[in-house]
């Protein structure tokens, strides 16, 4: 008797690593894009920096200190999930359906959803290393943003930015799945895609820290999953969220993460059923 389940798990993990590695290799082919992305990141940082400096100079009272605020918004740009030009999942799915290349994904001995998540994770790893971290280091010097106030804040930020990645990926996957029904991939990519970016900028707190929003909007943001996609990691980094609250927020993030993965799973199975019945 061989340990069959163990072999199965090892093969599955190998497969995932293989897909992630392939995505990294593929990403490295677009070297120029990383420079432009860093440049774009710095330009939007400059924009939010001056915007918030101007607002702060004219404000009577603010819920956050100037230094924390600038750190928050600049970091938000460096690690943004709303950056245009990212290899979004829904673009990948949309084009796959439009061109019919989704067939090639469906004959693989790997679940389509897992395949897509792994690919995106590879691209995300590379982008973090080659865009977000350099942009962050430059922001430390150019905009004099804060370092994390404590090791706990740094670790909390790291974990929670990863959690944010899974949440954003599930949202992107959901948007992509719409293409299986509408076949209108431009509507999905440019329509829903931009709605997503706008939602991330507002309800996730990428551009405006949630604590500065009107109470009623804060209340809405508090019950939606979007806050976990930017506000949570950023607020942990700047020390808005501290101590036990860090881990409660991360727990909340993972609960949403699991919930959204289950939801996307359900919708994906429906979409797959649709291909099986309706054809590509």
């Amino acid at each position: 008797m061989t340990a069959k389940p163990m072999t199965g798990i090892r093969e599955s993990v190998d497969r995932q690593i293989g897909v992630i590695a392939a995505a990294v290799k593929q990403g490295l082919a677009y070297r120029f894009e990383f420079f432009t992305a860093i440049l774009g990141s710095l330009l939007t940082m400059t924009l939010v920096y001056f915007l918030w400096t101007a607002i702060y100079n004219n404000a009577t009272s603010m819920a956050m200190s100037y230094q924390a605020l600038i750190t928050y918004v600049c970091l938000g740009q460096a690690f943004s999930f709303a950056r245009p030009g990212q290899r979004y999942i829904f673009i990948r799915i949309g084009f796959g359906i439009r061109s019919g290349n989704v067939l090639l994904d469906l004959v693989r001995p790997m679940d389509y959803q897992l395949l897509i998540y792994c690919e995106t994770f590879g691209a995300y790893l590379l982008e973090t290393l080659l865009v977000s971290l350099p942009a962050y280091v430059l922001a430390l010097f150019l905009f004099r943003i804060n370092l994390p106030p404590s090791p706990e804040a740094a670790i909390g930020f790291g974990i929670s930015i990863l959690g944010a990645f899974f949440l954003v990926s599930s949202i992107d996957f959901l948007i992509g799945l719409m293409a299986f029904w509408t076949m209108d991939i431009w509507g999905v990519i440019w329509g829903l895609g931009y709605v997503k970016i706008a939602v991330l900028d507002i309800l996730a707190g990428t551009i405006i820290p949630l604590t500065l929003l009107p109470d009623w909007l804060q209340a809405i943001a508090a019950i939606l999953p979007f806050r976990s996609m930017a506000y949570t990691p950023l607020a942990i980094y700047v020390g808005e969220i501290t101590g036990r609250a860090i881990w409660m927020n991360i727990l909340n993030q993972f609960a949403w993460g699991i919930g959204l993965v289950l939801l996307t799973r359900l919708i994906w199975l429906k979409a797959r059923h649709r291909i099986e019945i309706q054809g590509g």
Binding site: G18, A21, A22, K25, Q26, V107, R108, P109
Partner: protein
């Protein structure tokens, strides 16, 4: 076939397709501006029978041509064989599995090439895609390296293995597609138009490789193509479908024997000579003769060799007219298939 030489009993089928049917329900789309607006609210569906009660069996090691005109249902059949599509009725069993029920296990046994699509990562060298396949199919390292070495040799890949896929020619890319599909030693391979858009040299290289795969490795292959010379060069058996129905399943030789009435005599007349009442004089020889004058002045007479002997016909022509040149042409498979597509097959 190659897997069951004469004398031995035929092997158990590796692919069994029984009464396979697939009906698509699509929205009827009306043309025009008003029609486009109506389409937004329309619930007027149309049923299209893409595949209609098809049955066939394929034994291990066979290389079968699966052909038919555009829209005949070839791709739909392939999609059901690979497990991507669910049949509306009927059943597919591939190597003991129903592909729709056991996707994972089935996918490790099969390889698919879609000639019009690429599974290779576009901006990096093909080697990286091969490496991905190694992980994807959990191919043991030694096996992977041995296969890769052999394929690289057979397909002469080494000259462009380092180049990004986007810089490869169509023929070079297709060779790499084949490798990516075959590294995990699939027992069954579906090739959907593997030679599409290629020049003759590139086509020949692909064909030689497919032959190698079939003869040396004993891989079961289903080949879909619009290039009849692919079929002529590679397949002993052909399945022809049209409008979703199976219209022929048998050997190539049998098609030629049964439907090869299109053997032709082509001749040209000496300067100034007139064909006269050619049709009438031909009728005396037997039935099924057709004469036609081509643009270049050549006269083509098609005949059924079982009705009229070639010798009788040529002797008649030479004796009756001042002929300057004459040739008897073999049944041209392409012409036969064209006629079968155009008229459907009377069985």
């Amino acid at each position: 076939m190659s897997a069951s030489p004469a004398g031995t009993p035929p092997a158990a089928p590796i692919i069994r397709v029984t009464n396979l049917s697939k009906t698509f329900r699509t929205l009827k789309r009306k043309p025009g501006f008003i029609g486009a607006i109506r389409n937004l609210f329309s619930t007027d569906y149309e049923e299209i029978k893409a595949v209609d009660h098809i049955s066939f069996e394929i034994v291990p090691g066979e290389l079968v041509g699966y052909i038919g005109p555009n829209g005949a249902g070839k791709s739909t059949t392939i999609k059901m064989l690979t497990g991507i599509l669910h049949p509306t009725a009927g059943e597919v069993v591939v190597d003991g599995l129903v592909p729709q029920k056991e996707r994972g296990r089935n996918s490790k046994k099969i390889g698919v090439v879609f000639g019009q699509r690429s599974q290779l990562m576009w901006d990096i060298p093909p080697g990286d895609s091969f490496e991905l396949m190694r992980k994807m199919y959990a191919i043991p390292k030694a096996r992977f390296e041995a296969n890769l070495k052999q394929f690289v040799e057979l397909l002469a890949l080494d000259e462009f293995l380092e180049r990004p896929v986007r810089q490869l020619s169509l023929g070079q890319r297709m060779r790499c597609e084949l490798v990516a599909t075959l590294l995990h030693d699939p027992k069954i391979v579906y090739l959907d138009e593997p030679t599409i858009g290629m020049d003759v040299v590139a086509k020949e290289r692909i064909r030689e490789f497919i032959l190698h795969l079939s003869q040396e490795r004993g891989t079961t292959i289903i080949l879909t193509t619009h290039d009849i010379s692919d079929i002529e060069r590679l397949c002993q058996r052909v399945i022809i479908i049209d409008k979703g129905c199976l219209i022929y399943d048998g050997t190539l030789a049998e098609i030629k024997r049964r439907y090869g009435r299109l053997r032709r005599v082509v001749f040209s007349l000496a300067e100034g000579a007139r064909p006269g009442k050619l049709e009438e004089s031909l009728e005396q020889l037997g039935s099924g003769l057709q004469a036609e004058t081509q643009e270049d002045g050549n006269i083509v007479v098609s005949f059924d060799p079982q009705q009229v002997a070639a010798l009788t016909l040529t002797r008649h022509i030479v004796n009756s007219y001042a002929v300057s040149d004459l040739a008897v042409e073999e049944a041209d498979l392409e012409a036969i298939i064209r006629e079968i597509y155009q008229q459907g097959m009377e069985r």
